[in-house]
Amino acid sequence: MFDVEKVRNDFPILKRKIHGHDLVFLDSGATSQKPESVIKAMDDFYRNTNANIHRGVYELSVESTGLVDEAREKVANFIGARPEEIIFTRNASESLNLIMYSWGRDNIKKEDAVLISKLEHHSNLVPWQELCRETGAELRIIDVDGEGKLIVKNQKIKNSKTQSEVFIENGLRVRLGSLESLIADGKVKLFSVTGVSNVLGTIPDLAGMLTAIKRKAQNATVVVDASQMVPHMKVDVKTLGADFIAFSGHKMLGPTGTGVLWGRKEILSKMRPFLYGGDMIGEVKITGATWADIPSRFEAGTPDIAGIIGLGAAVDYLENLGMDNVREHEKELIKYALERMSKLEEEGLVKLYGPRDIEERGGALAFNVIGVHPHDAAQVLDSFGIAVRSGQHCAAPLVMSFGVPAMVRATFYVYNTKKEIDYLVSKIREIPKVFA
């Protein structure tokens, strides 16, 4: 295990005061803070190496190209992939859109179904809604139970026809139900699911679900939205069972403006480009062009070179901590937070959401303070220097299915401590007093 105090020293922003208090940053699920080494890698690049990649024969360009290649290798090694399978994007949303536009439009037909879950962030929901609306395919959504876990088995309902519900609006057909009921007819062509819920922290049983799906639809393509997964636990694409994964660099200590799409080489090689322009072409004539090999085919235009180099430094930082240690650290934090918060729940002060078993839960703590709107709760916490997110967390259908318009969410990362959780709990007690 790593020394959290030493880790904290690597993050300059943690020395900041907010409204006269020490910053307690509990919003890493939205974006993480950046260690000195990441900031320095980008600063060094701009000071000493800045030049565009690929196109230059001069020294600086050669060096820049080398640094981007090196970062690509680091990211690839980090998730057990081959470098050419790593495509740099702006963020996970762009990665998912790339799959939708490039793979989805050529492969999803009217008679197919696209399967997702109710846990999805809007970025893994809205692209598929639009694809299904365009193609006429059915969008199927695995429902969640009261703890925010995916419903796998059909429930004991007498009339088997009620195992799933159908909604039709603006030309889109949506079916909501248990996994079992949604895969029975073998029509699922694409399964896109989150690895860890950004709201409730739910970690779905990916392996179990994939086995069930592949039994009914052997050729289904699998996408994992790994935005809340890759920053927090060891991910190896060789054993994950996915064909694509999407994640953001800025949620894993890297700079904003960086995201990653990983795809299997065999699939990526057959896909058409998503964006057209410089650097993604083979040969260009006035009447048309051929496409570059992967990954260049999917990286039109000048990329965020400094950002990619910064992301490489972030991977180094995480590798140095060890991803198993990162997961252990967060498990301890969420376990402790749930223990402390359960006491407040027993007192009728808060309502907690999400699985109680920490083996099935990442470092996200969703809650509401009874009788206080989440924005008000978050603002009172801010006045004590605590940064939490409030609202629908880009997952409106999920949040509203718990019968509330919004939730407060605290998310933990490598630099958070039990002391900070104690402070959070003590300040949550102050919230109702403000509105009393």
Partner: protein
């Protein structure tokens, strides 16, 4: 807690003009998509003819005569809707536009953090839409 002045807490706990109108001229729903807050505004509209003025200078602008509202929201959006429901009586579209977001901030005690402006202006945006649809 500078953002929660007494006046905000007062209007939050005892919202004015909360309810509905049976004979409303216009109904309008407005929401904040990212936080799930929504408000339903109902108004009666009339013209302002101030007695005693010569006919040529009477203001024929349409003004809000009465406003009732309902909704779910935070302390800031609730207090802002409550205060605005009193302020709006007799206001024309131009006067509301002139009042603007600055007027809302003033009304709430002079300080609203930028992250809460969407809450503070929820009812205001609904009222602007009311004038737009009525044109």
């Amino acid at each position: 807690m500078s953002d929660y002045k007494d006046i905000i807490i007062d209007h939050y706990k005892n919202p004015r003009n909360f309810g509905s109108l049976d004979d409303a001229d216009i109904n309008m729903d407005e929401s904040n998509a990212s936080c799930g807050d929504m408000i339903q505004i109902q108004v009666k509209i009339g013209t302002r003819k101030e007695p005693g003025l010569p006919r040529s200078v009477r203001n024929e602008d349409e003004v809000i005569k009465e406003m009732k509202w309902r909704g779910v929201g935070c302390a800031i959006s609730t207090a802002a809707a409550s205060m605005l429901s009193e302020k709006i009586v007799g206001m024309s579209k131009k006067e509301l536009e002139d009042f603007g977001e600055n007027g809302i901030v003033e009304m709430l005690g002079g300080e609203v953090n930028a992250g809460r402006m969407k809450c503070a202006t929820l009812a205001f945006r609904g009222l602007l839409k009311i004038f737009e649809t009525h044109e």
